[in-house]
Symmetry: D2
Subunit: 424 residues, 4 copies
């Protein structure tokens, strides 16, 4: 199913008057509204192909209806999101869940929807039917060279798919680790991982990047071989300038100060980008901004300040991707909420008076420093986001339009009520 620009316009029409008023009120308080709007219009968040179906837990999965049955339908779904919010103009594929059998046609389809291909993701945390060696005890860190070789080759194959589609980064998350004390020689596991990564790194085209994700636990429950940002950074440093550290918001120990980690990785020129989500207990993969939106704002505050300090392009110099699991929500609605939460945090960060903030910091005026951040955070920036969307040709209220058009019902009709998208 596809939305027409007309459907969007007529939906917006009814809301325009109220929106114009809200935007005028809000814009008046923004010192450089054109700058802010341009940034918001440019900013795009990639949608992972595996997030288009209902997610599950080890206890079960309650699939919804109308889930995409193949890569083409996944691209359609992302196209639909992008049509609604004009901020989801990229898709991140996962191999082998989304092997593009006919790359040119897939590329053309994506182009029709205005989508580009973001980082490609490999999978060595599950065994595929017919696979020679099992990843039960890990992949790139495995004690058996043959297993490592298989995992390396898989990653190189993923790069090839990425090249065909015009992607320029390999995003790598390893589930490698151990469940019990004694199971693993940490040092050897690290060294083997490094050697495997070196082979993959060698296969990267020029201009490509290698994103190295870290995670403190799960699915291994005693240790993970790339457990924190320090371990990822060590690997990235040993590999070379193309290797960078990817931050997934849900992959930290309780109470971690993620914004500080982000600031330091940026300082080192080693931040790859993000897997956005939110969580309360572990790697819960909840809708972005649903649990702790202030933390998200603080992270964006570091990003804006830190990228500006390095004259980086906000929209294109880091990788922005959602990585969430929608167990009890319509995946498309969840993704719309997630992108909205990201845009809000970004807009708030753009409103921070950084000059005044640095002055307050310089004089240790903690009260004022907090006030400056909260002044931006407490501002209702939704009219700014909506305006950027409007200027981009999107809907003023994407979820409402999605609902009023009964998109899910349509998808169920087209694809069936019992479809289960590939993914977790």
């Amino acid at each position: 199913m596809k939305l027409s620009q007309h459907q969007i316009s007529s939906f917006n029409d009814d809301l325009l008057k109220d929106h114009a008023k809200a935007f005028a009120y809000t814009a008046e308080k923004v010192s450089d509204i054109q700058y802010v709007l341009q940034r918001l219009q440019e900013f795009q968040v990639a949608i992972p192909s595996w997030a288009l179906g209902t997610g599950g837990t080890r206890f079960g999965r309650f699939s919804g209806g109308g889930e995409p049955r193949n890569l083409e339908e996944k691209i359609e779904d992302v196209g639909l999101l992008h049509t609604l919010n004009r901020a989801s103009g990229a898709i991140s594929l996962h191999i082998p869940w989304d092997i593009p059998e006919n790359a040119p046609s897939i590329k053309a389809l994506a182009a029709q929807h205005g989508l580009r291909f973001d980082a490609v993701n490999s999978n060595t945390f599950q065994d595929q039917p017919g696979q020679k060696h099992s990843y039960k005890f890990g992949s790139l860190h495995h004690t058996d060279k043959a297993v490592r070789k298989q995992a390396i080759e898989h990653n190189i194959e993923v790069i090839k798919y990425g090249i065909e589609l015009g992607s320029d980064a390999l995003s790598l998350w390893l589930s490698d680790g151990s469940n019990f004390p004694g199971q693993l020689n940490f040092r050897h596991a690290f060294q083997r991982t490094l050697e495997s990564l070196q082979e993959i790194y060698a296969a990267l085209p020029d201009q490509w990047k290698l994103y190295i994700e870290y995670k403190c636990s799960e699915p291994n429950f005693y240790s993970t071989t790339i457990a924190d940002w320090g371990q990822s950074l060590m690997l990235a440093n040993k590999l070379g300038s193309k290797a960078l550290t990817l931050v997934d918001l849900g992959h930290h120990l309780p109470n971690a100060n993620i914004e500080q980690i982000v600031a330091l990785l940026l300082m080192e020129g080693k931040l790859a980008g993000f897997h956005f989500n939110d969580s309360k207990y572990g790697d819960d993969d909840l809708t972005v901004g649903s649990i702790n939106p202030y933390q998200l704002f603080l992270i964006f505050n570091e990003l804006v300040e830190g990228m500006d300090a390095r004259s980086m392009n906000h929209a294109s110099d880091l990788g922005w991707m959602i990585d969430a699991s929608h167990n009890v929500k319509d995946p498309l609605e969840d993704l719309l909420q997630s992108v909205e939460a990201i845009m809000i945090a970004y807009a708030q960060a753009l409103l921070v008076d950084t000059k005044a903030l640095e002055a307050a910091r310089q004089s240790n005026d903690v009260v004022t420093a907090q006030d400056i951040l909260q002044e931006a955070y407490r501002t209702d920036v939704r009219p700014l986001i909506a305006q950027a969307r409007l200027l981009n040709g999107g809907a003023l209220q994407p979820v409402q339009l999605y609902r009023s058009l009964k998109v899910r019902d349509q998808l169920v009709k087209e694809r069936g009520a019992k479809t289960v998208a590939t993914g977790l």
Copy 2:
């Protein structure tokens, strides 16, 4: 496959001399060795039927071979464990994974293996094929009365199966909760849960008990409707004397002092028993004693002291069950390790000089209090466990015998390499 008493004896023969020496050395330091041995001989830990296959995570499951294909084979597996360690003389079934189609024959089979049926477990955290209503949004707390009714009836059915098999407790874990702020009215969810439980409670036979498990998160990631011991106890108190709180070691927030919770529940006469496992990050369901054996000892220290204070029978007045998931170990070996770790903690607790401990506490002699506990904990009690096993007719070293007999190979031969037991 079945082990003969002869196989065990001949295995033990080679080890007897060393064992006798170790036992003599250890027993000498125990003030009432007969008492300790009797307790150890009586103590039995129930094996859950779902723990006999390889477990998995939301990211995948790497099944081993020779997993039991039906309830009969599960009983065989537990029988095998019990033959080896003489401390696993009970099985805890899970409905609908283990529906006993012919109860008398199942009962007879269990009896042949010297097994009794421990608490029966219901399942309203997954949808079964053909099920009318979905549990996607919960079961006993569901906003829709029809769903609650279905879940209540399922629990009543589970009680019926339990009656047929001679069980005397229903163990209830709800996955009910919410993934996002706003999703749930906490108060209404609690009240609906209470009302549902009242209907189930009303269906309990005399002498039966209702075990109410709590869990701080997962599979719901924002709230769980029975989240902690306080919420479980509130329900148990409102229900009546048959309702008790079950403690699963992995179901607590980080750093929780579980031993204190155990002591207070015992004090209130409201402790049902345990689901034993170990964990480092979340509900990792690892082998008992593999991560923090001192905590396990501290819990048993409270149990021994608290049960003695109420003149309870250690072996029979609480429910003892393992609840673990064996992702990278042979499930039977894992269970042998778990039972051994439980017996060790129990034996250490039996060695605590409680009189001296109370005296030290009375005078706030913290150094001595710690020393008394660590004196017991640092003692190598393995010869005592082995002796109890020997007296019960078990193997001195169960895992070693299991391996030397190549039991797993046999099971694979009998059952196939690709079997997947029902469970998670």
Copy 3:
């Protein structure tokens, strides 16, 4: 130092035009603006007497200047805050830090400032000079009856002071616990605490309440004798209807769902009220709303809905108090920021469309439920707070007025640069 109404008016004058515009814009979207404003005007947060000086940690304390040197000056400080924000019309005393030697004169002074006396707090976590027995090993739970008696009598004395001042609640936080496994018999410690509390409870006047605070750790590092809401509630239930559970936001294990606890305590009629603060790692006692403002909103959402369900008066039927420590901020500025954050969360909660929320919950429309909460949370309610303050005669921007009047400089001049207020 005292602010005149004239100073406030002339400060407001310059801001009135902008405020009027912002208020009009915001109020337009509120369905019953009069109701909201009245609630906000009535709502008062008590200031604890110990929060008027610079706080410290075990590593040191960096006092600021102009700290109050006695109870009179503490009342002056709170009076100043209340003059500024008209939302701090109560003070919570701590004995023996603030013994009112001449109660009638103290009462008169408070009345001049428009302040009432909130709950009085006892202190059995420190030894006072000349004290007969030490609290090194606890107070109400102590193994030595003489120590318990001393602590009980202290609490009864605190009640007497409270009666003289017109307070109507005793707020009790025990530091009792243990630092090492073995140190304490948990059961006996609980029973001794209960017995001690029964004696204190017996000394409560009619209409008085006993607030029982819980805390998961610190200053005892292995166990605390009232560790969580469940233990506090057990005590409150055993004591009687005057005994209630007090929630301090910083006293929970990592990741605890505090809003659910609040909802259930309200449901049971056993919620006493709050000690507001914020924290990232432990009981950090930071400015309210400085770390996780969304959590604060979620708590207020439960409060508004839960109190309305019981027809409770928002302003007077629970105890509202700040409990923070200002290590690097001017305490008065910090308290103004804290009260503002509380008012914001309360106002946002008042904006929640509870009817629509219940409808979304009823149909498990999780996306809409989240949207309803976030609609209220994302609204910039500061103009509503400012309007309520204006109507009450306070300053539109309290911190700015405080700064422009150079209040701290004045206080330093009056009281000296090296004063150290009693407290932590």
Copy 4:
């Protein structure tokens, strides 16, 4: 007070027979008992000068009696410990708490007690009387260059004291950080810290080392400027080969896998050594091994294996120090318990069959890998420790001898009941 060798011998005499039996039984199972005993005899744990008095929390401090009143008495106390256990042959001083006014005489005194001076510690987390600039907002990371300079000079002064005493390392823990979002520019704070450290580093003599401690929180509650091992390692790498990362067991986020961090730092040649203690909630600074002795063993398991892999000398190639706070125990007894716990963990680690372990790892035999570790851990190694102590001339049971000689009573008599040692 000083213990004579005769007092020790006569105390040991009564215990010798039982000990000999226990040692024989235990030694028999050790493959190379001479090797193990030699390692145990050589291993020495430094006692920090600040740990000889009763510690406190922000809520209070309950001093015991007989605390050392000056550096000489602190040395005496450590001498006493070393006489008892022959494993505490070093002292770690803290400036300005322990300024050696007359270095040669202090050195001579230490030599008399058989003590050497371990790493010296600086203090820029408190303001000293007469200090020009305050550390309220940090030291080496301070925005004000003058404050940084003062802190740098203090550290250089500490090095000078260290040189005079024969120490060869500066151990540096910064409390620098922030309490509130916005307070700090993380990047600038890191850069300023690095520059300050470079100046200190430049002042290090040849052969000296700089230990850089990290800590996730406290006394700053939002961020700490050297928050985790990754940040410490980044600094150490940028500084040079003399700079190393110090691990304090209590300075990690909940659930951190410390043993893995240790293994990787060792691999990188960047591990400085340890501050030993134990904790349950935060940086609780409890007696080593009192909460989670298995974790301590796992850390030593990495140390033994990792140091052997680099042919390092266990006793001298890393810094071993206790850093604990004794709030409710006699500090000297607590330190004896701590050293004992360290020796036990070390001995257990020496017993691990590393060859078999590597073989099990190679074949992913997780059950066996765990068994190998637990075989060593479950062994009662206390007779080995006692034997090493005996061979070194120490007491078979140090705490018992300390008590039977009523050492604390003596110290109270000598020094008074109200003395308060410098420290926290």
